[in-house]
């Protein structure tokens, strides 16, 4: 598969707040290549530079040094800015603070309206987007009366209506209840099936293990990356990055310690439970020690 986003030597500084202060280096020489259609999870402690990285991906922030190419377009080139922003959509953390209109469908239409899409085409686009995000039934409701999960679905629909090829979720599940989280994760799985590149910034390890690839950030750099099975195998680095293991892996470790040989490829709780049931039914291997 071809590279969709390519980041080389990216540096981003926030300007100093007062003349005596130093500028804050949020991204410090970062290289990253993201393949088209892949699902990447980004982990890291607060302040490690995840949100800054996200904002560099669609040209909200422009690289201080190095460069960011989205589908071959340089984010530093002013001519590309609208094309890039509609190609790489962003869903933020707080659903309340990213909605512009009082009514669901009006808000979803905001992006296409800005892009100058003709009115009849806007209708088609937003209906498809609201269906994909599971908010179509609520389209005439007032946004402030929706649940957190429904608000985030509205925000996602608003991004999908721009017909992006990549969607970045910046801790978009953080403020939701478990049901709302599960809903957003389901949409992410759907996006992945339709070939949309997804990048999920999260503190939730159970969400991260579902990605194709996990990236761990610390102090503006990538300190660890690879498929979830490989990344979470490096217990020392995970700890160094200030992260916890997914609960499923903690359980797996315990099981292995007690002599139950759970294979490496099992990462998710569901898969673990399924494996245990299957093994137990298949004649109970020596679990007596």
């Amino acid at each position: 598969m071809k590279t969709f986003i390519s980041i080389e030597g990216l540096v981003y500084d926030y300007p100093a707040r007062t003349p005596e202060d130093q500028p804050v280096r949020a991204i410090d020489g970062l290289d990253l290549h993201i393949r088209e259609g892949s699902f990447t999870a980004v982990l890291g402690m607060n302040g490690s530079g995840k949100s800054t990285l996200a904002k560099c991906l669609n040209g909200l922030y422009v690289a201080g040094d190095g460069r960011v190419l989205v589908d071959g377009m340089d984010t530093a080139d002013d001519a590309n800015v609208w094309k890039i922003r509609s190609t790489v959509g962003m869903v933020f953390q707080n659903p309340d603070n990213q909605m512009v209109s009082s009514i669901v469908e009006d808000d979803v239409a905001f992006g296409p309206e800005n892009l100058g899409v003709p009115s009849e085409k806007i209708r088609e686009r937003i209906d498809a987007a609201m269906k994909a995000a599971g908010i179509f039934e609520q389209r005439h409701r007032k946004v402030h009366l929706l649940s957190g999960g429904q608000k985030q679905r509205t925000a996602i629909a608003g991004v999908l209506a721009m017909q992006p090829r990549c969607v970045v979720f910046d801790e978009s599940t953080a403020m939701l209840d478990p049901q709302g989280r599960a809903g957003v994760m389901e949409i992410i799985e759907d996006l992945r099936r339709t070939g949309i590149t997804t990048i999920l910034i999260t503190h939730n390890m159970e969400e991260a293990v579902r990605a194709d690839r996990v990236i761990v950030m610390k102090e503006g750099r990538i300190i660890l990356e690879g498929p979830p099975a490989v990344v979470f195998a490096d217990r020392r680095q995970i700890e160094a990055a200030g992260l916890a293991l997914p609960a499923s892996l903690t359980v797996r470790d315990e099981l292995i310690k007690r002599g139950i040989p759970v294979p490496d490829y099992i990462l998710e709780m569901d898969a673990l439970a399924e494996w245990l049931v299957r093994t137990a039914e298949a004649g109970e291997p020596d679990d007596e020690d």
Partner: protein, 275 residues
């Protein structure tokens, strides 16, 4: 906590008036407002009142909804009525000690009260029959010709619709902060006016900070969704004048002409209780 609040109130129905283009309704409300100040006698008020009643009936908004808009100004209404009734010289009708009610005073007071009632009823009908979004779209479109002299039409409309969108959010924030401060022993309800105003400071400062944070977040989200001002922007619900809108404009002109002609005494009917 008031969760479902909007500026003005929209009464959801499907009437001729609801279906009119928002621009027609805004212009009509404006013209109506000016016309009320042309009226000089009882027949004029009767005519304007009858037209308003016809529009209210056509709109399908129940009268008690519209009358609700009167509640906050009841006090002002009574106050101006009382002031006016004692302020004019003329044939004395009733004497109350040093004060006296004259025929002119009574006429003035009744007319001013009528004027206020017609004003509130007429303008609240605008928000009852037009969705806030349509209202801001209408304002934007009507202000557009003024862009040449530097009126930021699109920005004004966008600010209004964002304000409408965030009123409930800020009310929720206020509620949250208030509860948090009360849990720490803050008291917003007792004390004299000055003490109460002072107790609002720990409420207002965090609210202000939050509002700023929301504004930053929102600006970022709007940019991420390709917002770049009104240039080249299309709309999901574009405004289009239809035949009924043209008819409404014609009726509106007819209304204005009749009011003006009548108030100048140019109609072959005598003025009644002129002031």
């Amino acid at each position: 906590m008031i969760r479902d609040i909007t500026l003005g109130q929209y009464y959801d129905a499907d009437s001729v008036i609801h279906r009119l283009d928002p621009r027609v309704k805004i212009v009509a409300a404006f013209v109506y407002l000016v016309m009320i100040f042309f009226v000089r006698d009882f027949i004029g008020y009767l005519f304007v009142g009858a037209v308003l009643a016809a529009v209210i009936i056509a709109s399908g908004v129940p009268l008690r909804f519209i009358a609700r808009g009167m509640r906050p100004i009841m006090f002002i209404l009574l106050f101006t009525f009382l002031i006016n009734i004692f302020m004019y010289r003329g044939a004395v009708l009733v004497r109350l000690g040093p004060l006296s009610i004259t025929d002119n005073g009574l006429k003035q007071a009744v007319f001013i009260a009528l004027r206020l009632v017609l004003l509130i009823f007429g303008t609240s009908l605008l928000t009852y029959t037009t969705k806030p979004m349509a209202l801001t779209d209408g304002i934007e479109s009507l202000l557009r010709p003024l862009r040449r002299i530097g009126v930021p039409a699109h920005e004004i409309a966008m600010m209004m619709s964002i304000a409408l969108r965030f009123i409930p959010t800020l009310l929720e924030e206020t509620d949250k902060i208030m509860k948090a401060q009360q849990a720490r022993g803050a008291d917003f309800e007792s004390g004299n006016l000055f003490q109460r105003a002072k107790s609002l400071i720990p409420l207002l400062i965090p609210l202000f900070v939050n509002a700023f944070r929301i504004a930053m977040d929102l600006a970022m989200a709007m940019e991420a969704r390709c917002y770049r001002g009104g240039e080249g922007r299309t709309r999901l619900h574009p405004m289009k004048y239809r035949r009924s809108d043209a008819a409404a404009y014609v009726l509106l002109i007819l209304f204005a002409v009749l009011v003006i002609v009548q108030s100048r005494g140019l109609l072959p009917i005598p003025m009644l209780w002129e002031v």
